[in-house]
C-alpha cells in the first residue's frame, strides 16, 4: 500500500565514519548528501525536498544553503520523539507520494558526543519528568530503563543471556565484511558473557557504539526512478507506532513498547508477509530492541527469539534470515537509524560485495522502539 504515488529509494551516501570528537558535522552531512545524489545519478538542483532527524544540528534549510539549492517545495525537521533516522525517511516518502515534492534528500548526521552517555558532568535539575527518575540514579538516557526491560523480558518469557549475545556476536561477523564499520574484530560468546554490566542485566556489548558520521538517502517516485542510475528499491509499506501510554518508562507495554502496533500496521499495508523477508535490518541501539522487533515483526513468535536465532546461525552470513548485515550500530557505529535503510537498499540492489545476501528481494527495516517506532518494507 502506498500513500499516493509509488516511491523508491534511488540513492545512498555516507561520509567517513570514525571516533573523533570535536568534529564539525556539517561537512560530514554535505558529503553524505552529495554522495547520495551522485549515487542516484541526479544533480543537486533536482532536489526539491529535504528531510532530517532529530530537528537540531543541521536543519533541512541549513542543508539547502550548504548545497546551494534554489528553493525547497517541501521539507521536514523531525522531533527527537520520532523513530530515529527513519522518521525523516517516512516523512520524505509521504511527501513524495503525495506530490508535495518529487525528489527528497533524507539525512542524519551525528557526532560521537551526541551518542555517548558516559562522561557527562553537568546535569539539569530533577524537574518535570526527571523528578520521578533522576533522584534515583536514572541518568545516561534510557540505559538503566533498558536494563529493566531486559530483566523483565527474562521474567516474562524466559530466555538466556546467549540470546542477546547472538546479536552482539552477529554484528561483528557482518562488520568484518564491511569496510565502513568502526568495530571489525570478531567477538565470541564468551567475550559477550564476560563484558561488564552497565545496568545489570544490560551489558556493555548490548549497547551500540557512538561514532561521528553521516548517512543520506534519496527518495523519489517509482516513475522517475526508472530513468536513474541505480536499480530502484521500492517502498512497499511503511508504518509508525507508539503503543499505549507512550513513554520509555511509565508505559503500558514495558517490554515491547510500540513495536507490536507498528508491525501490525506495517504488514496490514504490505504486499508481502514476514515469511517473504530475505534480509532484516533491525535497530540495535540495544540488543533488547532487536529482539523486540524480530518478535513483533513476526520473524519468529513472541518469546521465541532464542530458539529461532539458533545460536546466531539464523541471522549470520549464510543464515536463513541475515540480519544487520552492515554490522548494525553495535559494530558499524551508531549512525542513529538511517544506515539500516541505506544498507537494506544496497542489499536489494545487490551491491554489498562480500556481505551480499544472495537473491535478496525483500527487506524489512525497523528503527527505534518504545514510544517511537517506525518500520518499512522494501522490495526490488
Amino acid at each position: 500500500m502506498t500513500f499516493g504515488r509509488k516511491t523508491a529509494i534511488v540513492g545512498v551516501g555516507y561520509s567517513a565514519i570514525h571516533r573523533e570528537k570535536g568534529v564539525d558535522s556539517r561537512p560530514l552531512a554535505t558529503t553524505a548528501a552529495k554522495n547520495a545524489i551522485a549515487d542516484a545519478g541526479l544533480d543537486v538542483s533536482d532536489i526539491d525536498g529535504i528531510f532530517e532527524y532529530p530537528g537540531f544540528g543541521e536543519l533541512s534549510i541549513d542543508m539547502q544553503r550548504m548545497l546551494g539549492i534554489e528553493n525547497l517545495r517541501c521539507f521536514g525537521d523531525y522531533a527527537a520523539s520520532g523513530p530515529s533516522g527513519l522518521a525523516a525517511a517516512l516523512g520524505a516518502e509521504t511527501a513524495v507520494a503525495s506530490g508535495q515534492c518529487d525528489v527528497a534528500l533524507v539525512f542524519r548526521s551525528i557526532t560521537r558526543e551526541w551518542g555517548q552517555q558516559s562522561g557527562q558532568v553537568v546535569f539539569p535539575p530533577a524537574s518535570g519528568p526527571l523528578q520521578y527518575q533522576m533522584p534515583y540514579g536514572v541518568a545516561g538516557a534510557i540505559i538503566p530503563v533498558m536494563g529493566m526491560k531486559k530483566q523483565r523480558r527474562f521474567a516474562e518469557f524466559g530466555g538466556r543471556e546467549e540470546d542477546y549475545g547472538a546479536i552482539a556476536v552477529n554484528a561483528r561477523k557482518w562488520s568484518a565484511l564491511n569496510e565502513r564499520a568502526v568495530l571489525r574484530d570478531p567477538i565470541t560468546m564468551d567475550d559477550y558473557l564476560s563484558s561488564r554490566f552497565v545496568s545489570e542485566p544490560l551489558r556493555l556489548l548490548d549497547c551500540d557504539y557512538p561514532i561521528t558520521g553521516a548517512c543520506a538517502v534519496i527518495i523519489t517516485t517509482a516513475e522517475r526512478a526508472a530513468d536513474l542510475a541505480q536499480k530502484p528499491v521500492f517502498i512497499d509499506a511503511s508504518a509508525l507506532g507508539t503503543g499505549g501510554r507512550p513513554d520509555w518508562t511509565f508505559t503500558d507495554d514495558f517490554v515491547f513498547g510500540g513495536t507490536r502496533a507498528c508491525s501490525n500496521t506495517l504488514w496490514e499495508r504490505s504486499s508481502v508477509t514476514p515469511a517473504d523477508v530475505d534480509v532484516a535490518e533491525l535497530y540495535d541501539g540495544f540488543t533488547h530492541i532487536t529482539i523486540s522487533w524480530a518478535e513483533a515483526l513476526g520473524l519468529c513468535g513472541i518469546g521465541e527469539f532464542g530458539d529461532w536465532v539458533d545460536g546466531g546461525a539464523t541471522i549470520g552470513p549464510g543464515g536463513s534470515l541475515p540480519m544487520n548485515t552492515n554490522g548494525g550500530q553495535l559494530a558499524e557505529g551508531r549512525m542513529h537509524g538511517l544506515s539500516f535503510l541505506a544498507e537494506a537498499a544496497l542489499q536489494l540492489r545487490g551491491q554489498c560485495d562480500v556481505r551480499q545476501v544472495d537473491g535478496a528481494r525483500v527487506a524489512v527495516v525497523a528503527n527505534a522502539a518504545g514510544p517511537q517506532c517506525g518500520a518499512m518494507v522494501l522490495t526490488s
Partner: protein, 140 residues
C-alpha cells in the same frame, strides 16, 4: 556532590507533600476511580474531567522489573553503585508502576513479583518514596 532532589511543580506538589508526611499518593480525579502516575495537569483518559485529587495508597506492591546500576552516569551516584533501581506495581492499582531504588535488599533476592512496600528517604528538603522487600513478620 549531593544527589539530586526532586523539584516539585504545581502538578506534582501533592506527591512530594504526601511523601513528606510518610504517605504515598497517586493522582486521581474528582468523580472518577481513574488514577495515573506520573501526575499530569490533565487526566490521560478522555472521559475523566474532574479536578485532580490525591489518592493515598497502601504503599504495598510487587516488584515489576529491576536493574542493578553498575555505571553511575550521574556523578552524584558514583559512590552508590551497585545500585538497585526498580519499578513497583501498586497492589491498589495494578498497572500503575512507580520507579525507585529498592532499598534494604540483597541483590540476590530481587525478582519480578517480589512483594515490596514503600519507605521514605530524606533527600535535602524533600522525602523520596523508596521501596523495600516485605519481611515476614512485618505488619500485613
Amino acid at each position: 556532590m549531593d544527589k539530586p532532589e526532586p523539584v516539585p511543580d504545581a502538578v506534582s506538589a501533592f506527591y512530594w507533600e504526601h511523601a513528606a508526611r510518610g504517605e504515598l499518593a497517586v493522582q486521581g480525579f474528582e468523580d472518577s476511580d481513574f488514577v495515573q502516575f506520573p501526575p499530569n495537569s490533565v487526566a490521560e483518559q478522555v472521559d475523566v474531567s474532574g479536578a485532580p485529587r490525591p489518592v493515598v495508597v497502601s504503599g504495598r506492591g510487587t516488584l515489576y522489573a529491576y536493574t542493578i546500576l553498575h555505571q553511575a552516569f550521574h556523578p552524584a551516584f558514583a559512590d552508590s553503585v551497585p545500585l538497585a533501581i526498580g519499578l513497583t506495581e501498586l497492589d491498589d492499582h495494578p498497572g500503575i508502576r512507580i520507579l525507585s531504588n529498592i532499598v534494604d535488599a540483597e541483590i540476590g533476592e530481587l525478582r519480578s513479583g517480589l512483594p515490596v512496600e514503600v519507605t521514605f528517604e530524606k533527600r535535602g528538603s524533600q522525602h523520596l518514596p523508596q521501596f523495600r522487600p516485605v519481611r515476614s513478620g512485618d505488619s500485613a
